[in-house]
C-alpha cells in the first residue's frame, strides 16, 4: 500500500518537473507584453493575448519555410542513401566491409567542431556558401552513418533465404532490392525519416556557422537570435519556441513508437 502511494507521489512530482516549463511557455506566450512581470510569472493571463502568435508567425514564417525545405530534402536524400548502404552492408558484404563500417559509424559521434573550419571553406569554395543547399549537403553527409546503421540492422532481420530465392529467380543486385528488400522497408523508412527529420529540424551548430544571411536562416538560428536579444519581451520568444517545437512535437506525439526506435538505434546495437 505504502509502495503504491510512493509510486504515484514520484510520478506526480516527476510530471510537475516535466510539465511546469510547458505551462510557463504557454502562459507567457498568451500574456500582453505589458502584463509580463517577473513577480507574476506563474499566474494565468488576465487577458488572453493571441497577438504574440500572429507576430511570431509573421516573423518566423520564412524561417519555418527554410527549415521545412532543408529538412525534407535532406531527410529524404539521406534516407534513400542509407537504405542502399544498409542493403549492401547487410546482404552483399564486400571485402573490407568489416573495416569500413566502424569507420563510417565513427562519423556520427565526432564533435563537428573538429571539421568545421575545413567544412566552412569547402562549402564556400564549391559555391554553396551561405545557401540552404550547402546546409542540405552537410546534413546528408553527416546523416549517412546513422541512416546506414539503422537500415543495416533492419535488413539484417530479412532472412538470407529470401535473397537467395530472388537470385535463383534470376534477380540481381538491383532486382532483389527493388522487388524484395525495398517493399519490406516501410517501417525502416518511417524510423529513419522521423529520426532524421527531428535531428535536422533541431540542428543548430551547422546552421549558425554555415548560413550567414538572415534570409536563409533556419528556425533554430532565428529563435536563438530573438531570445538572445535583451530588449524583446518574453511573450514573443515563447510563442516562437512553441512554433519551432510544434513540428517535431507533433511527430513525437503521433509517431512516438517509431521515434523511440530511432532513439534506441542510436546506441549502435540493433
Amino acid at each position: 500500500m505504502i509502495g503504491r502511494v510512493v509510486q504515484y507521489a514520484v510520478l506526480f512530482v516527476a510530471t510537475l518537473f516535466f510539465l511546469l516549463p510547458v505551462y510557463l511557455v504557454i502562459v507567457t506566450a498568451l500574456k500582453e507584453p505589458s502584463a509580463i512581470t517577473l513577480s507574476s510569472t506563474w499566474q494565468l493571463p488576465q487577458v488572453w493575448y493571441w497577438e504574440s502568435f500572429v507576430q511570431a508567425w509573421t516573423a518566423f514564417l520564412p524561417k519555418l519555410q527554410n527549415s521545412f525545405f532543408l529538412t525534407v530534402i535532406a531527410t529524404l536524400l539521406s534516407a534513400m542513401l542509407g537504405s542502399l548502404n544498409g542493403y549492401v552492408l547487410a546482404k552483399w558484404r564486400f571485402p573490407g566491409a568489416n573495416i569500413v563500417f566502424p569507420l563510417m559509424l565513427f562519423g556520427m559521434f565526432i564533435p563537428y567542431q573538429a571539421v568545421l573550419i575545413p567544412l566552412f571553406q569547402f562549402i564556400r569554395e564549391i559555391g554553396l556558401g551561405g545557401t540552404l543547399w550547402g546546409l542540405i549537403l552537410v546534413h546528408v553527409v553527416y546523416g549517412l552513418p546513422i541512416t546506414t546503421l539503422i537500415f543495416r540492422n533492419y535488413y539484417a532481420e530479412i532472412p538470407d533465404e529470401m535473397i537467395e530465392a530472388g537470385r535463383i529467380d534470376g534477380a540481381g543486385f538491383f532486382g532483389i532490392y527493388s522487388r524484395i528488400v525495398f517493399p519490406l522497408s516501410v517501417p525502416g523508412f518511417v524510423v529513419v525519416i522521423i529520426w532524421q527529420f527531428t535531428q535536422i529540424w533541431n540542428e543548430f551548430l551547422f546552421a549558425v556557422t554555415l548560413v550567414s544571411s538572415p534570409a536563409n536562416q533556419p528556425i533554430t538560428v532565428a529563435l536563438a537570435q530573438l531570445a538572445g536579444g535583451e530588449a524583446v519581451k518574453w511573450n514573443l520568444p515563447m510563442a516562437g519556441a512553441l512554433l519551432a517545437a510544434l513540428p517535431t512535437l507533433l511527430v513525437y506525439i503521433f509517431l512516438g513508437r517509431y521515434f523511440i526506435r530511432g532513439l534506441l538505434a542510436g546506441s549502435v546495437k540493433g
Partner: protein, 374 residues
C-alpha cells in the same frame, strides 16, 4: 576483380562507394585538415586571418602548449573544468532520474503510457527551444525562484545563470597529481573486481598499473608544474541551471533505455527470487541492477559524448559570451568565427575530438566485436 565474390557484390561496392568517398572527405579528410591547421599560426596576425591568400606558418604544437600552459588561455582551462563537472552531474542526474522513473513505470501504474509520453517528450525538442524556455524559467527575479511564493514561502535567491560563484577550487598545477590519484583509484577498483571474479591476469595488470601511476604521482607528479603560478579553477555554480535543463531534456532517454532493459528481464527470474525469500530491495540489488549494468555503461557513453559536445543548449540559455557557463565547444566557435583565431580554434576542435574519441572508440570496438561473435 576476382576478390569480389561475383558481379553483384561489385555492384554493392559501387553503390556504397559514393557514400564512403563523401564520409572519407567530410570526416577523415577534414579532421586531418583541422589537425594541420591547428599546427599553424593562422589567425595570429589579424590582417592575415581573413585575407584571401593568408600567409600561414607552421608552428608545431605551439597552439596546444598555449591552451594548456599559456597565460592568455586561462578561459580554455576553466572550460575544460566546466565540461568535467557538467558531464559528471549531467550523467548522474540522467541516470538516477531515468532509472527511478523506469522502475516506477515498470510496475505498470495506471496511465503508464501517458507518463511515458510526458517524460520522453523533451527529447523531441531542439536544445534551442529547451534553452529558450529554461532561460525564462531561471530568471533570477522570476520563474523557478518565484515558485516558493506560490505556497507562501519567501522567494528563492539563487542567481542561476548569472551566478559568479565558484566552489571546489583546485590549482591547475595540482591537476596532473589529482588525475593520477583518481585514475589509480579506479584501477584499484577494477583490480579488486577482477580478483573477485577470478580473472587474475586482469587483476595483476590493473593493480600493477595502479602502483606505477601512484609511484609516479608521489615522486615526480608534484614537480610537473604546467604554470609558473597557481591558477584556481572550480565548479561554476551558474552551471547548475544548465545541468537542470539538460537533465530535463535527456533523462527521458535513459528512462527509455532502462525501461526496455527492465522489460527484457523475464518474470520467472523475479518470481524465482521471490520464492527464495528475497525482499524487494534484495531483488533489485542482487538481480536487476547487475542485469542493467551494460545499459548503464552504454547510457554513460552516449550521454558523455553528448555532454562533451554540448553547444546549442548553452548558446540559447546563457548566450555565447557568458564566461561562467563557457565550454570548449562554444569557445571553439567564438575563437574561430568571432575572434578569427582560426588555428587556435582548430586546436580546441582537435582536443574535443580526442576527448570524444577516448569515450567512443572503445565503445564502438566492443559493440562491434560482440556483434561479430553473435
Amino acid at each position: 576483380m576476382n576478390w569480389f565474390r561475383n558481379k553483384d557484390t561489385l555492384y554493392g561496392f559501387l553503390v556504397i562507394l559514393p557514400s564512403l568517398v563523401l564520409l572519407g572527405i567530410f570526416v577523415y579528410g577534414f579532421i586531418f585538415q583541422t589537425f594541420y591547421t591547428s599546427l599553424t599560426d593562422w589567425g595570429r596576425d589579424p590582417a592575415q586571418a581573413l585575407s584571401a591568400n593568408p600567409q600561414i606558418r607552421f608552428i608545431g604544437l605551439e597552439n596546444y602548449r598555449e591552451l594548456f600552459t599559456g597565460f592568455v588561455d586561462a578561459r580554455f582551462r576553466q572550460d575544460l573544468v566546466n565540461t568535467f563537472f557538467f558531464t559528471v552531474f549531467f550523467i548522474l542526474g540522467c541516470l538516477s532520474l531515468g532509472l527511478g522513473l523506469a522502475i516506477v513505470l515498470d510496475r505498470s501504474p495506471k496511465g503508464e503510457g501517458f507518463f511515458r509520453t510526458i517524460f520522453l517528450f523533451p527529447m523531441s525538442l531542439s536544445f534551442i527551444v529547451t534553452g529558450t524556455i529554461w532561460r525564462w524559467m531561471l530568471q533570477p527575479q522570476g520563474g523557478v525562484n518565484q515558485l516558493p511564493t506560490l505556497v507562501g514561502l519567501p522567494r528563492g535567491e539563487f542567481a542561476w545563470l548569472t551566478s559568479r560563484e565558484q566552489i571546489w577550487q583546485v590549482s591547475w598545477n595540482d591537476l596532473p597529481f589529482i588525475t593520477a590519484l583518481v585514475v589509480s583509484a579506479v584501477l584499484v577498483f577494477i583490480a579488486i573486481a577482477a580478483f573477485r571474479g577470478g580473472e587474475r591476469r586482469r587483476g595483476y595488470i590493473a593493480s600493477g598499473s595502479a602502483a606505477l601511476l601512484l609511484l609516479w604521482a608521489l615522486t615526480l607528479g608534484r614537480s610537473l608544474q604546467p604554470l609558473p603560478f597557481d591558477e584556481l579553477h572550480g565548479f561554476n555554480l551558474a552551471f547548475i541551471g544548465i545541468i537542470l535543463a539538460a537533465v530535463w531534456q535527456m533523462s527521458g532517454y535513459t528512462m527509455a533505455l532502462y525501461l526496455a532493459g527492465l522489460r527484457g528481464i523475464p518474470e520467472e527470474l523475479r518470481e524465482a527470487a521471490r520464492v527464495d525469500g528475497a525482499s524487494e530491495w534484495q531483488l533489485y540489488q542482487r538481480i536487476i541492477f547487475p542485469l542493467l549494468a551494460p545499459i548503464t555503461l552504454s547510457a554513460m557513453i552516449i550521454l558523455g559524448h553528448i555532454s562533451l559536445k554540448i553547444f546549442d543548449l548553452i548558446f540559447a540559455m546563457a548566450g555565447a559570451d557568458n564566461a561562467p557557463t563557457d565550454v570548449p565547444a562554444l569557445l571553439m566557435y567564438l575563437t574561430t568565427f568571432r575572434a578569427n583565431q582560426i588555428a587556435k580554434g582548430a586546436a580546441i576542435g582537435m582536443i574535443l575530438l580526442l576527448l570524444v574519441a577516448a569515450v567512443i572508440v572503445p565503445y564502438l570496438y566492443s559493440q562491434l566485436k560482440s556483434e561479430v561473435r553473435r
